[in-house]
């Protein structure tokens, strides 16, 4: 928490903070208000406006939606119970210990985030479909095993949990926690160990409590995000009659005439459910001291001693599941006539690559993706720094409201966000319509929650002494921010930039209502092939996206930025 002196020094900047507040409100709250107002408009398209509660009654009166919401929650709980301990230990091992190849391990975790989700799901289906899964078939061939199908069933609740764990549930949490773990001053761990605490006790009693802002923000991010999850559930959930909130929203937006009103009601419902948690994390993170980076901060890896190689083996086991296997699946998919069908006499082909590389729109899509994702990455860092600074290091009166506002884009389904922005732009900023700049703005807004909250959770770890010293020495607010506050946060900022780049390059739902043929991105081109349905060619496009994103991560490494991919 900033001291009174720093807060006093910031008072003159309240005008700037208010300007930031107004901008965030315009891009975040205004689209939501448009949507909410429109949800009361029940006239048919083209008819005279007529107001009522039709959409609200239909959405809230549907008993299926409550079951779907409960399914979302129990899927989240089951996944979290396994993912959280693994992610915390993994983040600590990678960031704080002398495990070999820690930066490459972190890179493998990033890779899992880059991979196309649908391809990975299909990869798991190929392995553990109850009747045709290659892994299941291999087990059934073992002696003394007499099963007609299984033993593993991907079309089950635990199949869903497994795919979530393998896809993002562990890796994203770990990625978001690693910078905070890196910023922990080693003297705290040493003090605990000098007092006789073992590794586990140090982790449980010292490290985790100090990491609480980052852990709570990451937990809330995944809790809010859970409501939007639908891709895995569409493929694996519906065949078993398992519907989640995300699939309900998807349905409402994909019927003959999209039910935007009802979808808005459901989005408001999620905001209502998550609101107390948003307020709690805001109070929690600014109401206590979590300073782990001080003027005396030292970082030195904790020795795992004899446990080093067993831990390394365990970590590589996780990396194998979340990254290496899916990566191999994606690569293999692009070279197979039909992915998973090794029984064909000639299963391999270059046709999918030829088709995509000859597509006249490919180069334009690559260029648009790089421009949009690159701009979004840079802008996201700037927005995250400014807003997080106001939230974490000032006593601006409206910072609590600002904090809650920054969560809204995460709680709003992408297509609704796109529709809200479409309205705002068509009403207030028509010249922006149809430009790449608009796509940059909407992807920045859609991804701002992660960027701001992660930077904020790391900013509260910074001690105030250096900042106060700089101000006493006469440094301006901007100079202090640039030369004192930001340098220790560079790894976090690189993380935010990379995260934003990946999210923007993969974004479909937020931009689909705003893009045109001229602003085609690789993600939209992938969708184009997917709908065709040219599934393997779509995977080629996804792999090209992955290669570009990996290239960006490696450029960050080359620039010697502490992304963790060194």
């Amino acid at each position: 928490m900033p001291s009174l002196r720093v807060a006093r020094a910031h008072r003159e900047n309240h005008l700037l903070y208010t300007a930031v507040f107004v901008v965030v409100a315009t891009v975040v709250v205004a689209p939501l208000l448009f949507l909410i107002v429109d949800s009361f408009q029940i006239a048919a398209p083209g008819a005279y406006p007529f107001w009522g509660f039709g959409a609200w009654r239909a959405a809230l009166g549907n008993s299926d939606i409550w079951l779907a919401m409960w399914n979302s929650v129990r899927l989240y709980l089951a996944t979290s119970v396994i993912a959280w301990p693994v992610a915390i230990v993994l983040a600590w091992v990678v960031a704080r210990t002398d495990i070999p190849g820690q930066n490459w391990i972190e890179f493998l975790l990033w890779l899992s985030f880059f991979l196309p989700s649908l391809t990975v799901v299909m990869g798991w289906v190929t392995l553990i479909d109850p009747s045709t899964g290659l892994f299941n078939q291999a087990i059934r061939r073992l002696p003394f095993i007499n099963l007609a199908s299984g033993p593993f069933d991907i079309y089950s609740f635990w199949g869903l949990v497994w795919v979530h764990l393998g896809q993002n549930a562990i890796s994203i949490k770990t990625i978001l926690l690693i910078p905070a773990f890196r910023n922990l001053d080693v003297y705290m761990e040493e003090a605990a160990q000098v007092s006789g605490a073992g590794l586990v006790t140090t982790l449980r009693r010292v490290v985790i409590p100090l990491m609480m802002p980052a852990i709570i923000v990451t937990a809330l991010l995944s809790f809010v995000r859970l409501w939007q999850s639908f891709e895995i559930e569409l493929v694996l959930g519906i065949p078993q009659g398992f519907y989640v909130y995300g699939t309900k929203i998807y349905d409402l937006l994909n019927v003959q005439v999209p039910e935007y009103g009802q979808a808005t009601v459901l989005a408001v419902l999620v905001i209502f459910v998550t609101f107390p948690f948003m307020v709690f994390q805001q109070r929690f993170s600014v109401g206590r001291r979590y300073e782990t980076i001080t003027g005396r901060a030292r970082r030195r890896p904790t020795s795992l001693a004899r446990a080093k190689w067993p831990v390394f083996a365990a970590v590589m086991g996780i990396a194998l599941i979340v990254s290496i296997l899916p990566m191999v699946a994606v690569l293999v998919a692009t070279f197979m006539k039909v992915f998973g069908h090794f029984e064909l006499s000639e299963p391999w082909t270059l046709n999918h690559w030829t088709q995509v590389l000859r597509d006249p729109i490919l180069l334009q899509a690559v260029r648009n993706t790089i421009v949009i994702a690159g701009s979004a990455a840079l802008l996201s860092v700037a927005v995250s720094v400014v807003v997080a600074y106001i939230l974490a290091r000032t006593r601006y009166r409206l910072r609590g409201v600002l904090d809650v506002m920054t969560w809204l884009p995460q709680a709003l389904p992408g297509m609704l966000m796109g529709l809200g922005v479409l309205w705002i732009v068509l009403t207030l900023f028509k010249p922006l319509y149809g430009t790449l700049s608009l796509l940059v703005i909407v992807t920045v807004v859609a991804g701002m929650t992660v960027g701001i909250q992660i930077v904020k959770s790391n900013m509260v770890q910074l001690g105030t002494e250096l900042e106060e010293a700089a101000r006493i020495a006469g440094a301006s607010w901007f100079a202090t921010l640039l030369k004192v506050v930001l340098p220790p946060l560079v790894p976090v900022l690189v993380l935010v930039a990379t995260f934003s780049f990946v999210a923007a390059s993969r974004d479909v739902s937020n931009i689909i209502l705003l893009a045109s043929g001229q602003s085609m991105t690789l993600a939209l081109l992938q969708l184009d092939y997917m709908v065709a349905p040219l599934w393997e060619s779509a995977t080629v496009v996804a792999l090209i996206m992955t290669l570009i994103t990996t290239g960006v991560a490696l450029v960050a490494r080359a620039c010697n930025l502490r992304l963790g991919v060194r």
């Binding site: 999209p258 039909v338 349905p533």
Partner: protein, 377 residues
């Protein structure tokens, strides 16, 4: 006897014939004049803005077809699902923005979203080449292609005869065991049937509706509740189940999803479920796909839009479209693009429309009922 003036008279007759032919050409002149005038104006507009179905083959057919015909007029093609592009168009027009010239999409959602806001212009107003709307050129006559209730705005140029209920894999289901829709209720097929989600728009819900025209809603409910039908929204997943015999009978699977697998050598004994055995003897019907066409009123490039409509309905373009997208055109003289010989339209037969607005409204009514059964959400 040969008259001396014979060659002269022959010359006069031939000359008269030439003059008559020229006269006939002059008689055709008005549409050609209009064509030239429209072409000149379109060149000044410089561009045509088209939204159409997603997919590389659709995009390539439209773009290459246009560029070949009008190389000096640019085409801006945006491929997207109808629900997405039309939501955008509705908001744009509410704000006074008119960005699009042409819409190519399926009957639903177009007929429920664009005619109510008077966004479409009468299609006939765009027709210049008389051959395009000649009844003799189209199976069932030109007007049978209109799919909107007013029968003047939205037009289906393609169509398949009959309809496929889905597919069966004969590697694991014999013809003796399964050869008609009633066989679906046999106990031996419990847990062996999959269906594309009938609540979604598309071929799945349409073929399910056609099934109920013959068997009734209660029969369908029995099928869903008694046979543990597995629902999916993923065509690839349904195809995998079909060729792998996990679910050897699949309802509502479109041909393009399956044909790629068959081309690669999988599911060689998979058969389409077509004909009276599956739909009953209720006469012949046809339905188009996601390639119906309309043009916008207040289109920003009205002349280019007119050229596009005429091009789209021309025999050459219909052939290109049918071949590229494995479909069949209603335009007589085009070769079927769908490899299934049962889907070709016969110009000598009369077909009922199974994909027009009236049919889609019945599909929607059935979907409401299915939702009430609680078998699929």
């Amino acid at each position: 006897m040969t008259e001396r003036g014979g060659p002269l008279r022959l010359g006069i007759v031939l000359g008269a014939l030439v003059l008559l032919a020229a006269g006939a050409a002059v008689a055709q002149e008005p549409w050609r004049q209009e064509w030239t005038k429209t072409l000149d104006a379109a060149r000044k507009e410089g561009v045509v803005a088209v939204s159409g179905p997603p997919g590389p083959s659709e995009r390539e057919a439209v773009v290459t077809g246009w560029q070949k015909a009008f190389p000096d007029i640019r085409i801006e093609y945006t491929g997207a699902r109808g629900t997405q592009i039309l939501s955008k168009v509705v908001r744009e027009r509410e704000s006074g923005l008119y960005n699009w010239d042409i819409v190519i999409a399926s009957t639903d959602p177009t007929v429920f979203m664009l005619p109510p806001i008077n966004a479409l212009a009468p299609l006939r107003d765009a027709l210049i080449d008389p051959a395009v709307s000649d009844d003799k050129e189209w199976v069932g006559g030109f007007d049978q292609g209109f799919v909107d209730a007013a029968r003047k705005f939205f037009y289906s140029a393609t169509g398949s005869a009959g309809m496929s209920l889905g597919y069966v894999n004969r590697d694991c289901v014999s013809r003796e065991a399964f050869s008609k829709s009633d066989d679906l209720l046999k106990p031996e097929f419990k847990g062996k049937i999959a269906s594309h989600d009938p609540l979604l728009p598309g071929s799945g819900s349409r073929s399910t509706w056609r099934l109920t025209v013959d068997k009734g809603d209660a029969w369908l409910k029995d099928l869903y509740t008694g046979q543990d039908v597995t629902f999916s929204r993923d065509y690839r997943q349904l195809t995998e189940w079909l060729v792998g015999c996990g679910k050897p009978i699949v309802i509502g699977l479109p041909s393009d999803a399956f044909l790629q697998m068959q081309k690669a050598g999988l599911g060689k004994n998979v058969e389409a479920l077509t004909g009276p055995a599956y739909f009953g003897d209720h006469g012949l019907g046809w339905a188009g796909a996601n390639d119906d066409i309309g043009w916008y009123n207040n289109a920003p490039h009205q002349n280019a839009a007119k050229l596009f409509i005429n091009l789209y309905l021309s025999r050459d373009f219909q052939q290109l479209w049918a071949s590229s997208n494995h479909t069949d055109s209603r335009r007589i003289g085009t070769k079927p693009g769908d490899p299934d010989p049962n889907t070709g339209l016969n110009p000598k037969l009369i077909y009922a429309a199974w994909g027009d607005e009236a049919s889609i409204r019945q599909v929607k009514a059935l979907q409401e009922k299915i939702m009430g059964w609680g078998v699929v959400q």
